[in-house]
């Protein structure tokens, strides 16, 4: 599994800048399964993120799908 904020393996180190307050204000940017950068759309109430290989995920509340 990969970190959705930096794209590095979750098991590599403790990802300090991916756990703080700033990261809490970030939608996922990297696919947890393959670490590809995802296409992300933020809307007022959620986000939708799409990996070209692994498809889309959305947060609860998202009204916008980019597919």
């Amino acid at each position: 599994m990969f970190c959705v904020h930096c794209g590095l393996p979750e098991a590599d180190g403790d990802h300090p800048s991916c756990r703080g307050g700033r990261a809490a204000l970030e939608p996922p940017r990297f696919c947890p399964e393959c670490a590809r950068r995802m296409v992300v759309q933020v809307d007022p109430f959620g986000w939708a993120a799409r990996c070209s290989r692994h498809g889309s995920t959305t947060s609860a509340g998202a009204g916008v799908l980019t597919d």
Binding site: C6, G21, E26, V39, D43
Partner: protein
């Protein structure tokens, strides 16, 4: 000297006493030196400062709060080099280019209106719009109207030509956002691909065409207190309808990645100082308040000069849940501005 005379002399030099007479009573914004003096007040004066800024806001703007939602129509891949921005294509940030389709735009406008917000701002990460973007905006606004949503629509599409200004007016866009971002003297440190003066020119055209002008910036980009004061009075000179205040969220991959967010008390001082420089302007909490101020600080800001907020998420960053802000306004007994009201 008698005690009374001493007090009079003290009042003549205390910037808050001066501001009470000048700004609260007469509605005249602080000068650059006065703003600087406010920013340099000790933390023990913060409470008095916020209370005065709140009085100024209540007297010159009233208790209503304007609520807005924003949406990114075109994300990332921008050719400009604004050093704070994760959407610049020049920096190795994790943000990828994306276009929102029209149904997505209509859905976001609907969600925004459902909160009671009266303002929906459509934003694109571009130097200025091209024909494709203008036609997407036109189709998007038409689709929002066709869906029966009468929320007011603002746009933020970068630098405009006169022709584009006129087109936006014809589409019914009532307000245009284009941030001056920072003090004129600091701007070349922040952006090298266009100038502060080019931004000013767009704002001038927007105003002359009859749209409301929305222009603010980001604090915490390495500017000095002098430059913060300079920025406040430059905004006052522009005299916009609205000033959005952002606090830098250091974005991974940008040149400002390692900057420290502004400390909470300093951010509150800035809020109050900007209110005292801009007594009649709508002052909006925009990005970065969650990180800089937290929940308690947001409330202090609402009681320290702010009279407008962005609810929900931002363009590429998440905000706190919209309901939390709506609950806060209810707790503070601040009514949400309704459609058709003017602030």
């Amino acid at each position: 000297m008698t005690a009374a005379a001493e007090r009079t002399q003290e009042n003549a030099t205390d910037v808050l006493a001066v501001a009470r007479d000048q700004v609260l009573d007469r509605g005249v914004g602080l000068t650059r030196d006065q703003v600087l003096a406010v920013l340099r007040l000790g933390d023990e004066r913060l409470e008095d400062l916020l209370a005065l800024a709140h009085e100024v806001r209540m007297k010159w703007c009233g208790p209503e709060v304007e609520v807005e939602g924003i949406i990114s129509l075109k994300t990332g891949g921008c050719p400009e080099d604004c050093h704070f921005c994760s959407q610049s294509g020049r920096f190795p940030t994790p943000v990828r280019s994306a276009w929102l389709d029209i149904p997505g735009l209509v859905a976001a406008a609907k969600q925004t209106a459902a909160t009671g917000a009266t303002e929906f701002c459509i934003v694109a990460a571009v130097r200025g719009p091209d024909a494709r973007l203008m036609s997407q905006v036109r189709d998007g606004i038409k689709a929002i109207r066709d869906s029966g949503n009468d929320i007011q629509i603002a746009c933020s599409l970068g630098m405009l030509t006169q022709e584009q200004v006129d087109e936006l007016v014809a589409m019914g866009v009532h307000r245009y956002n284009h941030n001056l971002e920072t003090a004129r003297s600091h701007f070349p440190q922040v952006v090298t691909t266009h100038t502060w003066e080019e931004r000013w020119d767009t704002l001038r055209m927007v105003r002359e065409a009859g749209m409301e002008v929305c222009s603010g910036g980001i604090l915490g980009m390495g500017e000095t207190d002098e430059q913060r004061a300079e920025f406040a009075v430059q905004l006052a000179e522009l005299d916009p309808h609205e000033v959005p205040m952002n606090f830098l969220i250091p974005q991974p991959g940008t040149p400002y990645e390692q900057y420290e967010p502004i400390e909470g008390r300093a951010a509150l001082k800035l809020v109050a100082a900007f209110r005292l420089a801009l007594p009649r302007t709508m002052l909006r909490f925009a990005g970065g308040r969650e990180l800089t101020l937290g929940d308690l600080g947001a409330e202090q800001g609402m009681l320290g000069g702010i009279n407008a907020i962005i609810v929900g998420n931002y363009l590429t960053n998440l905000g706190r849940p919209a309901q939390q802000d709506l609950d806060m306004l209810a707790d503070l007994k601040m009514p949400i501005k309704a459609l058709g009201d003017t602030l």
